[in-house]
């Protein structure tokens, strides 16, 4: 007999607004229904009311953990639209800040995973050594989070030469401790027993759900924007993509832990290759047109689309966060687990609901609009637009 165990609408553990209905038979989970959309942020609506430079700070507040990724993707989109050449030093600084942020995000996840497992020592270790990292980010950018580093055409602050020894020192500490804890976590029999062969997301499922980031790389799908479409300095420095094809939670944890070490290596390489020079290109105006920017956030690909009409504000701004794809894959991953494991599986994609949440339509206390409804809505809109811009000349006008 099927029974439903509700988790949410306010997740007691992850403290974010989402609603999972676990369909269980005894201890075993046989199905999952995901409801998200409890949190309306209105970022895409506010964005066209702000100037190009101000939107950078708005998108920075989409996510508190990967608060460098959203502005990074946004400035890439604007630079794509305006065809701006970014100075070489700025590209290296962007890479450094982005990689530092990746380490701190992965540390946060591993710590939380340890906490969810009941292994609070792991939590304490990782969060303890996350502190020097946040202090380092504070000395480089001026804040522990919300770095305000990205600017259209470059970066806002330079990394001073006298700061580099401090960075090297923190990197050495981080590398030593990450290596130690990675081995400690990977060798631990209890953690292995809890994570191995749990929460299978098969490679076919991962491709079918279109998962991104470490979730995909733990399932044997070798995708990484840094390799596939390298922006900033990722194309210039040597680094390896970490991919495991065990498809279980342990593989996802391994991907994240080893990526931290890889990031340390990348930051070292960037510091070595960085030459003195300009940190920001001169930007005069954003011409009419559209641009896309996508970069690899700690959780996967962040995608930003902007359209400009030549004024000082965007006319359309679209954001897609990686959790949007990753959370849906829980349906496949959670099947066959016990309820105790389901908690871990649901957290394993490192979900970030505040990034993902857009809007939910409710009528008479009932959620309306499934996938088919949205497709119909979209097709209807295309039809009306096709009627309005029937003749090719006016269609051309709208695109120019």
């Amino acid at each position: 007999m099927k029974k439903v165990v509700p988790i949410g609408p306010y997740h007691p553990l992850q403290e974010e607004p989402e609603f999972f209905k676990l369909q269980v038979e005894g201890e075993k989970v046989v199905g999952l229904e995901i409801n998200i959309g409890y949190n309306h942020r209105g970022h895409e609506y506010i964005s066209p009311t702000m100037t190009w430079d101000q939107v950078t700070f708005l998108v920075e507040r989409i996510c508190g953990i990967c608060s460098n990724s959203h502005p990074f993707a946004y400035v890439c989109a604007v630079e794509d639209c305006a065809k701006i050449e970014v100075p070489e030093r700025a590209e290296y600084i962007r890479t450094i800040v982005d990689e530092l942020q990746r380490i701190h995000s992965h540390f946060l996840w591993v710590g939380l995973a340890g906490h969810f497992l009941g292994y609070n020592t792991v939590w304490m270790w990782f969060w303890r050594y996350r502190e020097p990292l946040l202090d380092l980010l504070e000395s480089i950018t001026g804040n522990r989070n919300h770095y305000a580093m990205m600017k259209i055409g470059g970066v806002r602050r330079d990394i001073k030469d006298e700061d580099i020894p401090a960075i090297e020192k923190t990197l050495n500490l981080l590398e030593e401790k990450t290596a130690l804890f990675t081995r400690a976590v990977l060798d631990d029999p209890v953690i292995r027993a809890r994570l191995e062969n749990v929460g299978f997301l098969r490679t076919e499922d991962a491709i079918a759900y279109g998962v991104l980031g470490p979730t995909a790389r733990g399932s044997g799908v070798a995708i990484d924007v840094r390799k596939d479409h390298p922006n900033a300095a990722y194309g210039w420095i040597p680094w390896d993509m970490i991919v495991f094809d065990e498809c279980d939670l342990f593989a996802k944890a391994k991907v994240r832990l080893l990526e931290c070490l890889e990031s340390v290596k990348m930051i070292r390489e960037c510091l070595k290759r960085m030459k003195p020079g300009e940190i920001c290109a001169e930007v005069h105006e954003i011409p009419p047109g559209e641009g896309i920017g996508h970069i690899e956030a700690p959780r996967g690909e962040v995608f930003h689309y902007i359209r400009s009409d030549g004024s000082n504000m965007p006319v359309r701004h679209k954001v897609r966060a990686p959790s949007y794809m990753n959370v849906a894959s829980n349906v496949a991953a959670v099947k066959g687990c016990t309820i105790a494991d389901a908690v871990l599986v649901l957290a394993s994609v490192d979900p970030c609901y505040c990034c993902t949440e857009r809007v939910m339509v409710v009528e008479d206390h009932k959620k309306i609009g499934d996938g088919n409804y949205l497709i119909q809505l979209s097709q209807k809109r295309t039809e009306t637009l096709a009627k309005r811009f029937g003749d090719p000349e006016s269609r051309l006008r709208t695109f120019i």
């Binding site: 700070f57 305000a148 081995r183 400690a184 060798d187």
Partner: protein
């Protein structure tokens, strides 16, 4: 399984000797880096109330208000709305806004978060529209150098500043003067004066 545990023992011993990593916060505050963007301060004597910071602020934490009856322009910084991005600090040409290393904002009432600077506002002689603050006009006159004398409003303000008295128009039959000389005019009225009074359009 003994070996891995031994390896982590060093970390545990170190933690026992060093004690907790966290600080006893309200009594001991955490040190911050010199580049930290903390609570903002205004330097009142440097600020000319030009409104550049209000223009760039993404969070609308700056409010520029004119009081034409009192001839005062006021800039207010709402600390509770500030997102500490540092754009206003970068936009200020006078270095009148600064981030400090203070970060403790918590208090029991919601008073005292606002800081404001008021400066004398000059109004147009004809339409009473606000032009700018006196200090702002003086700064423009200073930066533009001798070109400032091409603009009657700037010339008027400079004259007042240098001579310390109200400028008077030259008198006498052969005195060369234009009616837009040495008057406090907003850009719109200046054009009108120039076209109507001089050219008669």
């Amino acid at each position: 399984m003994k070996k891995p545990k031994l390896r982590e023992l060093g970390e545990a011993v170190r933690a026992v000797i060093r004690g907790p990593f966290t600080l006893d916060f309200p009594r001991v505050s955490s040190p911050v880096a010199p580049s930290f963007r903390g609570i903002m301060v205004f330097e009142e004597d440097k600020c000319v109330v030009c409104g550049a910071c209000a223009e760039v602020c993404p969070a609308a934490a700056r409010e520029l208000t004119d009081f034409p009856d009192r001839q005062v322009r006021r800039i207010t910084h709402h600390q509770e709305r500030c997102i500490y991005c540092g754009l206003c600090e970068a936009a200020c040409s006078w270095k009148a806004i600064r981030h400090t290393e203070e970060y403790d904002l918590a208090q029991l009432t919601n008073e005292g978060y606002e800081r404001s600077v008021e400066k004398e506002l000059l109004l147009c002689e004809i339409c009473d529209e606000p032009i700018a603050t006196r200090e702002h006009l003086l700064w423009i006159a200073e930066t533009t150098g001798e070109l400032a004398y091409a603009n009657p409003t700037l010339a008027y303000v400079l004259h007042q500043e240098i001579e310390g008295v109200e400028p008077t128009l030259p008198t006498g039959a052969r005195a060369a003067y234009r009616s837009d000389h040495l008057r406090l005019l907003c850009p719109k009225c200046r054009r009108e004066v120039y076209l109507q009074e001089i050219w008669g359009y």
